[in-house]
C-alpha cells in the first residue's frame, strides 16, 4: 500500500464538527485563564491531547540526548585502549544514558500515548483530573531538568564560572542508573548523585500522579457500553502499567530518601561501618527496577496489539488471553526482583525460587507472542510502515525474551552477570521492544494527532535502517559477553579478541542513529507537507478513528455508545445490533475545563527545590533557604489550584444532525 493513499472516511457516528471559532462560550468558573493558542496556552493547557503532544516532544528531545550519550560510549569502545573520553566521563555517560533512556525517553513517550489515546479510545472528553495531568507533565519536565542541569554546572565549572566548596569534580551523576549504595554515598560521589536523587524523586511524583489519573480515568470515564472486557488492549495495558507504577515507585522513593538522609543528615542506612547493608539498596532498587521493565514494555505490547489487527484486517486473536497474560506479567513482575541479585548470595532456596518465578514469566509472554502470530495468521496483511516496525518489534522482543530465559537460570546468570551479554539482552527488549513499538505507534497515530498523512517511502527506509542498526549494534554483544567483555569499563586491552566485534557494534550504533535521524526528519517533513490524513486512514477499529483528525478540543461531539469490542470495526462491518450509537448532547453544551497556571507553579517549586538541594551539597550559599522557598511555591501553587475551583466553559459544536 502506498502511504500517500488516504482511504475513504469511515461512516462516522458523530456528525462533522465546525471550526473552533464558532462555539459560544459561557463562563461558569471563576477566573481561570482561557487561552486557546500560543505559548501561554501550552503552559496552562489542560487538554490531554496537547499534553500528550508535549510529552512526545520532550521525550524525543531526550531520546536524542540519550542517543548522543550512547554514541559517545560506542565511539569510546570502537577500538581498544581508546582515550576519547576519560574513565570519569565514561561513568557519567553511561549513568546519564541509562537514566535518560528509562525515565526521560521511553516512559514519557509511553505517557504521550496514554495521554493522547486513552480518552479517545474509551470515548471520553478528557482524563479524570485535567489539571493533575498538566501537573504530571510539568513535574516530569522539572525532574528531567534537575537531572540534566548537572551537565550545565559541569560545563560552568570547566569554564571557571562555578566552583564547589571542596573542589569536587563529579557534578554529573556517575553512579549508574541503578545508583548502588554505598557506592553512591557522600564518601564516594559528588553532587552528581544529589542531582540524580532529587531528579528521580521529582520524576517519581510525576509518574505516580499521572498513573493515579489514568487508573481513575479508565475505570470511571468509559463511554456507555464500554465494559472492561471491551476496552481496547492498549487501554488495558495502560491500566496495568499505571497500577505497576503506583506500587513500584514507593520502594524506590524510600530508597532514594534513605540515601538522601545518609548524604544530608548523617543517617546510617547504607554506612557499612555503622551496620548499614548494601544489599538493602539492591532489594529496594530492584523491587522497583524489575516492575519498571514491564512499565516500559507493557505499553509497547499494547501498541502492537492495536496495530496488528488493523494491518491484518482481523480481530486480535485471543483478546481475553492477551489481557489476562498482561495482568499475569504485571503481577509476576513484582515477584522476581531478586533475579537481579543472584550473584549476591541469597541462599539456595531464594535463588531457586526466584529462578523458577522468572522462568514462569516466559509463559504469559509466550502466550502474547502466539496471540500476535495468530492475529497475523490468515490475515490480509498490509505492509504499512507501522506494520513493518511491529514485525521488527516481534523479532527483537523474541530475541530479548530468549536471552532473558537464559539469565533466569542462576548458574548461567552467574556467568553472564555484568558482561555484555546482559547489555545485549536488555537492549533487545528495551530498544528493540519499547523504542521500535513506540516508533510504530508514532507512525500509526501521528495522522490522527496532526491530521497529516505520511507520504513517500522514507518511512520504510527508517524502519529498515533502524532494524538493521539495532541488530548490528546489539547482536554481537551476546558474543562479546560470552567471551568475557565486562560492562561499565571505559576501555579494554588490545589482544583480547574483542576489537572486531566492538567495531561492528559501534558501526551499528551509528547506523541506528542515522535511522533515528531520518525518523525525526520524516516527522518534521510530514508536519510541514503531509497530505490530509482523513478521519480513518488505516481502516481502524477503535473509537479515535471516528472523529476528525486532528480531534477537536471536545473529542466527541456526542459521547458514543458501544455495543461490542472493536467498536468501530463492528460499526463498519457488523450487524445492525452492534453499530455505534450516541448519547443525546446536553442542551447546555459540552462542559470544557479552563486552562490553569497553578499546575505549572507547583512543578516549578519542585524544580527549585531539587536544584537548590543539590547545590547545597556543593556549598553554594543560601541554598537551604532557596530550597524552602521552592517547597513553599509548590504549596502555594497547590492552594491556589484548589481555590481556583473546577471552572470551565460550555461549547456548542454546530451539528448537522
Amino acid at each position: 500500500m502506498s502511504l500517500t493513499t488516504t482511504t475513504t472516511t469511515a461512516p462516522s457516528p458523530t456528525p462533522p464538527h465546525t471550526s473552533e471559532e464558532g462555539p459560544s462560550r459561557s463562563n461558569i468558573g471563576l477566573v481561570r485563564p482561557d487561552f486557546s493558542t500560543g505559548l501561554k496556552d501550552l503552559l496552562t493547557t489542560v487538554d490531554h491531547k496537547k499534553i500528550g503532544a508535549m510529552y512526545a516532544i520532550f521525550a524525543l528531545a531526550f531520546l536524542i540526548i540519550g542517543g548522543v550519550e550512547a554514541l559517545f560510549i560506542r565511539a569510546q569502545l570502537a577500538v581498544a585502549e581508546n582515550n576519547l573520553v576519560s574513565a570519569e566521563t565514561y561513568n557519567q555517560l553511561f549513568t546519564m544514558h541509562g537514566t535518560t533512556m528509562v525515565f526521560l525517553a521511553v516512559m514519557p513517550l509511553s505517557s504521550a500515548f496514554f495521554n493522547f489515546l486513552v480518552p479517545l479510545q474509551i470515548g471520553a472528553r478528557d482524563v479524570a483530573f485535567p489539571r493533575l495531568n498538566a501537573f504530571s507533565l510539568w513535574t516530569f519536565v522539572a525532574g528531567a531538568i534537575v537531572v540534566n542541569i548537572s551537565w550545565l554546572f559541569q560545563a560552568a565549572q570547566a569554564l571557571g564560572w562555578f566552583t564547589t566548596e571542596n573542589g569536587m569534580t563529579d557534578i554529573v551523576p556517575a553512579g549508574g542508573w541503578f545508583g548502588y549504595a554505598p557506592l553512591t554515598s557522600d564518601e564516594y560521589t559528588g553532587i552528581g548523585t544529589d542531582f540524580w536523587i532529587f531528579g528521580l524523586q521529582v520524576l517519581g511524583i510525576a509518574s505516580i500522579a499521572a498513573s493515579l489519573n489514568f487508573i481513575v480515568t479508565i475505570i470511571n470515564f468509559r463511554a456507555p457500553g464500554m465494559k472492561m472486557m471491551r476496552l481496547p488492549v492498549f487501554v488495558w495495558m495502560t491500566l496495568i502499567t499505571s497500577i505497576l507504577v503506583i506500587f513500584a515507585f514507593p520502594p524506590i522513593t524510600v530508597a532514594l530518601g534513605e540515601l538522601m538522609f545518609d548524604r544530608y543528615f548523617g543517617t546510617n542506612f547504607f554506612r557499612v561501618d555503622q551496620g548499614g547493608q548494601p544489599i538493602l539498596w539492591q532489594h529496594l532498587f530492584w523491587v522497583f527496577g524489575h516492575p519498571e521493565v514491564y512499565i516500559l514494555i507493557l505499553p509497547a505490547m499494547g501498541i502492537i496489539s492495536e496495530i496488528l489487527p488493523v494491518s491484518s484486517k482481523k480481530p486480535l486473536f485471543g483478546y481475553s488471553l492477551i489481557v489476562f497474560s498482561g495482568a499475569v506479567i504485571g503481577f509476576l513482575g513484582f515477584a522476581v526482583w531478586s533475579h537481579h541479585m543472584f550473584t549476591t548470595g541469597l541462599g539456595k532456596v531464594a535463588t531457586a525460587a526466584f529462578s523458577l518465578l522468572t522462568m514462569a514469566i516466559a509463559v504469559p509472554t509466550g502466550v502474547k507472542i502466539f496471540n500476535w502470530i495468530g492475529t497475523l495468521w490468515g490475515g490480509r496483511i498490509k505492509f504499512t510502515v507501522p506494520m513493518v516496525l511491529s514485525l521488527g518489534f516481534i523479532w527483537m522482543f523474541m530475541m530479548g525474551g530468549f536471552s532473558g530465559i537464559m539469565h533466569s537460570s542462576a548458574p548461567s546468570d552467574a556467568q553472564q552477570q555484568d558482561s555484555y551479554f546482559v547489555v545485549a539482552h536488555f537492549h533487545y527488549v528495551l530498544i528493540g521492544g519499547s523504542i521500535l513499538s513506540l516508533m510504530a505507534g508514532v507512525y500509526f497515530w501521528m495522522p490522527k494527532m496532526t491530521g497529516k498523512m505520511w507520504y513517500g517511502k522514507l518511512g520504510y527506509w527508517v524502519a529498515g535502517i533502524v532494524i538493521v542498526g539495532l541488530n548490528l549494534t546489539f547482536f554481537p554483544m551476546h558474543f562479546l559477553g560470552m567471551i568475557g567483555m565486562p560492562r561499565r569499563t571505559h576501555t579494554y586491552l588490545e589482544g583480547t579478541g574483542w576489537e572486531p566485534m566492538n567495531l561492528v557494534c559501534t558501526i551499528g550504533a551509528f547506523i541506528l542513529a542515522i535511522g533515528i535521524f531520518f525518523f525525526l526528519y520524516d516527522i518534521f517533513r510530514t508536519l510541514r507537507k503531509g497530505p490530509p490524513a482523513g478521519d480513518d486512514p488505516w481502516d481502524g477499529r477503535t473509537l479515535e478513528w471516528t472523529i476528525s483528525s486532528p480531534p477537536p478540543a471536545y473529542n466527541f461531539a456526542r459521547t458514543p455508545i458501544v455495543h461490542s469490542r472493536d467498536a468501530l470495526w463492528a460499526h463498519k462491518h457488523g450487524k445492525e445490533s452492534v453499530k455505534l450509537g450516541s448519547v443525546e448532547p446536553s442542551p447546555g453544551g459540552i462542559h470544557m475545563p479552563s486552562n490553569s497556571w497553578f499546575p505549572l507553579v507547583a512543578s516549578v517549586g519542585f524544580l527549585i527545590l531539587g536544584v537548590s538541594m543539590a547545590l547545597k551539597q556543593a556549598g553554594v550559599p543560601y541554598c537551604g533557604y532557596i530550597a524552602i522557598s521552592g517547597l513553599l511555591i509548590t504549596f502555594v501553587g497547590i492552594y491556589l489550584w484548589a481555590l481556583e475551583g473546577p471552572g470551565g466553559y460550555h461549547l456548542h459544536p454546530e451539528e448537522k444532525a
Partner: protein, 202 residues
C-alpha cells in the same frame, strides 16, 4: 487541597458509581501502603543488625506516653468519622466542632512526637545512632509529616467552611476524601506502634 480534583464532564454517567476523588484517594492510599510497608520492613530488618549502639530502645522508650498519644490519635479518627457524618447530614456546625476536635487531637499527637524525639535525643538515640536510630526517626518522622499534612488539609477545610462558596452538600465528598486519608494515617500508626515500640518489649 481536595479541590485539586476536577471532573471534565460531570454530568455524564460513571460506570462504577465510585466518585472520582474517592477512587483516587483509595488508589493513592494503596500506593502509600507500599511506601510505609517499605519503611517498616527496613526498620524490622535493621533493628537487630547492629546492637552495640550504646542505647537500648527499652530504656529510651516511654511506652506509657506513646500509648497515650496513640490513643489520642485513634480518638481523632472517631471524631473524623463524626465530622464526615455531620457534613453528609448538612450539619455544618457539628461538622466544624468535630473537625476542631480532630485538629486538636492530631496536634496533640504531633506534640507528643516532638517531645518524644527531643527526649530520645537527650538519652542518646539520634538519627546517627546505628541503623536503629536512622530507621526509627525516618519512619516515625515520615508518619509525622503525613499527620502534619493531614492537619493542614483539615485546617484548610475548617477555614473554607466559613467561605460563602462552601457548600456542605457539594463539598461532603471532598471532606470524606480527607477523612479516608486521616483514617489511613491512623491505621498506619497502629502498625508502626506495634512494629516499632511494642515489639521491643516482646
Amino acid at each position: 487541597m481536595s479541590h485539586a480534583a476536577d471532573a471534565s464532564h460531570p454530568a455524564d454517567h460513571i460506570p462504577t458509581g465510585l466518585d472520582n476523588k474517592k477512587l483516587m484517594m483509595w488508589l493513592f492510599l494503596a500506593s502509600d501502603c507500599m511506601f510505609f510497608g517499605t519503611l517498616i520492613t527496613t526498620h524490622l530488618v535493621y533493628r537487630k543488625i547492629y546492637e552495640n549502639v550504646g542505647v537500648d530502645p527499652i530504656t529510651v522508650f516511654d511506652i506509657e506516653l506513646t500509648t497515650a498519644s496513640s490513643f489520642i490519635l485513634l480518638m481523632s479518627s472517631l471524631l473524623m468519622a463524626l465530622a464526615v457524618s455531620a457534613i453528609h447530614k448538612g450539619d455544618v456546625k457539628s461538622f466544624r466542632w468535630n473537625l476542631v476536635g480532630v485538629i486538636i487531637f492530631g496536634t496533640l499527637f504531633l506534640g507528643g512526637q516532638v517531645y518524644e524525639f527531643n527526649h530520645f535525643v537527650h538519652l542518646g538515640l539520634t538519627l546517627s545512632t546505628g541503623t536503629f536510630g536512622s530507621t526509627f526517626y525516618v519512619m516515625t518522622g515520615t508518619h509525622g509529616v503525613h499527620v502534619a499534612l493531614g492537619i493542614l488539609w483539615l485546617i484548610s477545610w475548617l477555614v473554607y467552611s466559613f467561605s460563602p462558596k462552601f457548600n456542605a452538600h457539594e463539598n461532603a465528598v471532598d471532606v470524606e476524601t480527607a477523612g479516608l486519608y486521616w483514617h489511613f494515617v491512623d491505621i498506619v500508626w497502629i502498625v508502626i506502634f506495634t512494629a516499632v515500640y511494642l515489639i521491643e518489649y516482646v
